[in-house]
Symmetry: C2
Subunit: 301 residues, 2 copies
């Protein structure tokens, strides 16, 4: 009988590409992962990984096994969800991961509603960049998370995860001076100005670069700030221009001129494949949908 724990490691290796990354995802040492994969390979009787330069890659047999592992893990996830659904009361932990902006805007009301409806449910919130969310979900560090999809940063489909659209926002160009042009013309006017963007490696950073590139230039990024309040303060101080999603805007963005762009940011709810039926996860997702609805109503109303 194939060991499911080892299959899980193989699946992660399939995606992450290096043993060290798998080890990090599971809080193991690379040695442990290497040993477990060696054992799996011995049991399988077929080479599953092979050396490719100084990293490793899956053989066709390994890739096939990883795909099958995906199905097995999804079934187990469903079984867990079914068990939790038979419990009369929601209890245990619900680990939620979200990007900083959401933690400040959408999450509070969702957490209050969840806590009131399910007092025995322990809500654990982790603030993290959406780029880290898929790994954290897959490794079991999170149960429910919010991720983004930008127009020029397509989220690659992941069979281990289930997603559901939550809300769509407009992206604004924030600058200190008034811009006569609108939309992408305004963007092009900023080609020679200094830019303020998030840290390299984050989704927001990538979004800013790609969006500018699509407009025909590469932004000269002078300042890096992940917090949009800081970003807006820098913009107001005349330090450069920036791209800011609707959700990050305060009620009165003083000293900042906002120009709506054609680009959109889509926020999704994500969980592990098979776990959407878990009552705590379903309740969490519902609370987030309600919070998003309230937010949209407040904006448009």
């Amino acid at each position: 009988m194939l060991d499911v724990r080892r299959l899980r490691l193989l699946r992660e290796l399939h995606r992450l590409g290096t043993i060290a990354a798998v080890a990090q995802a599971f809080s193991y040492t690379p040695s442990a992962v290497s040993q477990q994969l060696s054992t799996l390979e011995r049991e399988a009787g077929v080479p599953l990984v092979r050396h490719a330069g100084r990293r490793v890659e899956l053989t066709p047999a390994g890739a096939d096994l990883a795909a099958r592992a995906e199905s097995v893990l999804a079934l187990l996830e469903e079984a867990s969800a079914a068990l939790a659904a038979t419990r009369s009361e929601l209890a245990g932990e619900l680990r939620i991961g979200a990007f900083p902006t959401a933690v400040r805007t959408l999450l509070p009301s969702a957490l209050v509603a969840l806590g009131a409806a399910h007092p025995r449910l322990e809500l654990l919130v982790t603030e993290l960049d959406p780029a880290q969310v898929p790994d954290a979900l897959r490794a079991g560090a999170l149960d429910l998370a919010l991720v983004h999809e930008y127009d020029y940063v397509p989220a690659e489909p992941d069979p281990a995860l289930a997603t559901e659209p939550l809300l769509i926002e407009t992206i604004f160009l924030a600058s200190a001076a008034d811009r006569p042009a609108s939309g992408d013309d305004a963007l092009r006017q900023c080609a020679v100005l200094p830019w303020i963007a998030a840290s390299p490696g984050t989704l927001c950073y990538l979004m800013a670069v790609r969006l500018c590139q699509a407009a025909g230039f590469t932004p000269r990024i002078r300042h890096h700030a992940d917090d949009f309040a800081t970003v807006l303060a820098l913009v107001a101080a005349g330090q450069g221009v920036a791209l800011v999603p609707e959700l990050a805007l305060p009620a009165d963005p003083a000293g900042v001129v906002l120009t709506a762009l054609a680009a959109r940011r889509r926020t999704l709810i994500a969980c592990r494949a098979g776990s959407a039926g878990h009552p705590a996860i379903a309740a969490g997702a519902a609370a987030l949908r309600t919070a998003a609805g309230q937010y949209l109503a407040a904006r448009t109303g």
Copy 2:
């Protein structure tokens, strides 16, 4: 993440009904099974088993989980089969279980053909009563087995096993004296005679009793013998009458009069669900089909 080893114990408990039987099936002590199930229940957070008198039974949640475990285990079995299929040569063990008659008739030629075609395949044959086959397959003690289905002993469908018809035999009434009547009338003529049957608890024993009961009487079983050669010798010695399937008959059944009955014995090939694609198991099944074909050709030719 639910532990698949523990789920397997739960699945067996679902079928076998007692912890002691599960322990026996896996060569564990009842204590070990009890502890593992307790752990599973604690992890599940829902009662899975409850006491019913001095045994235990599954709760609805437990039964549901056991059904899900069935799917998971079948997927894992398929994954193993797919791995084995990528190996260029068939190697490893193939554990075959069969009833004594088949071991002497069908198996030898099948084993010779298999051994010649796949020299690195280790063939391990176990002689056992068909009644024990399902448990042995499910517990992983066998990979491939032959089982029977009699007209009056329906094999209950088992989601954990896959079966395939192999051959259909006539059942004969064996007696020392000539019987003028044919078919079931001959059977009824033997209502008052002493009977020779297999050991209680075996499928053949059950078949004999049920068949006679269907003919309107309960057989007075004087001798018990599992070996059909012995049975025929006892019949020839005038010790009683017996029911013998076609496959068990020697070329020249001296001193015994055989009357064909309407009842049939269907022999099936069985393996674990999901393992039919395993190349060694597929090769074994193919060899058995060939052997059965040769047998039928020799009988009819």
